[in-house]
Symmetry: C2
Subunit: 139 residues, 2 copies
């Protein structure tokens, strides 16, 4: 299996596979006489694992850890759970942050007439930011 076939089989682009190798996330692949990288089913499984972990938002460093645990027959599931919950906590923090932004802006947009006139609570908020200003019927 060359890199293109491994890419198709794993869903990870050839470019990304080379990148993962370059940063040491995966070991260096074997090579043919002419320098082509060679992959087998095990390597493809590792790539699939990585892809799935990325889909769940794990960073590369944590994926390193998870790969290590995956390949450790004597791991404690508690360890895996801890890593996962750390990540969940970060996701939830980010969600809270984005939700606060979204709610604030949604409210300001609701208060904005959205017509030809220049008066706009959104710009007023950005310009002043302190105090809530005059109330609006959506508040």
């Amino acid at each position: 299996m060359n890199i293109g076939e491994a890419a198709k089989a794993s869903g990870v682009s050839a470019k990304l596979i080379r990148y993962y190798e370059s940063i040491g996330l995966i070991p260096e692949a074997g090579r043919t006489g002419s320098g082509y990288r060679v992959y087998g089913p095990n390597e493809v499984n590792v790539l699939r694992f990585i892809k799935r972990a990325r889909t769940l938002g794990f960073g590369i460093e944590r994926i390193q850890t998870l790969l290590g645990l995956w390949q450790d027959r004597d791991r404690a599931s508690a360890e895996v759970k801890r890593v996962a919950l750390e990540h969940v906590a970060e996701l939830e923090a980010k969600i809270a942050e984005l939700t606060a932004m979204s709610d604030t802006l949604r409210h300001l947009a609701d208060c904005c007439h959205g017509d030809d006139r220049p008066e706009c609570p959104i710009l007023r908020d950005l310009a002043e930011a302190e105090g809530v200003g005059p109330p609006c019927r959506h508040g």
Copy 2:
């Protein structure tokens, strides 16, 4: 006012003020004879506007647009609202993405015993990903 004072007054770091100037988000500041940047209250207000907009998660490009609208006395509030709602849509899309990750992982973690044993639904999911596997009492 030099850049440090403008930074204190606006809440935007000196480093960032220079960066904003370098990318053309703000116009080039005036200079003293010895090359120090000089700022007045107007510039500080612009910086505060930018800071508030960044707090709401707007990207630099959209902030450019918002600054233009802010300084246009003949703007239509509809235009501002449109820009804001575009951003809200992006925020909500991101929130949905992160929430899906978080929910999936939270569920997997709930199914994980988290003890000394190696068996772990989180790793099982990452390794297999297809099919939900055996049910767990948290599902």
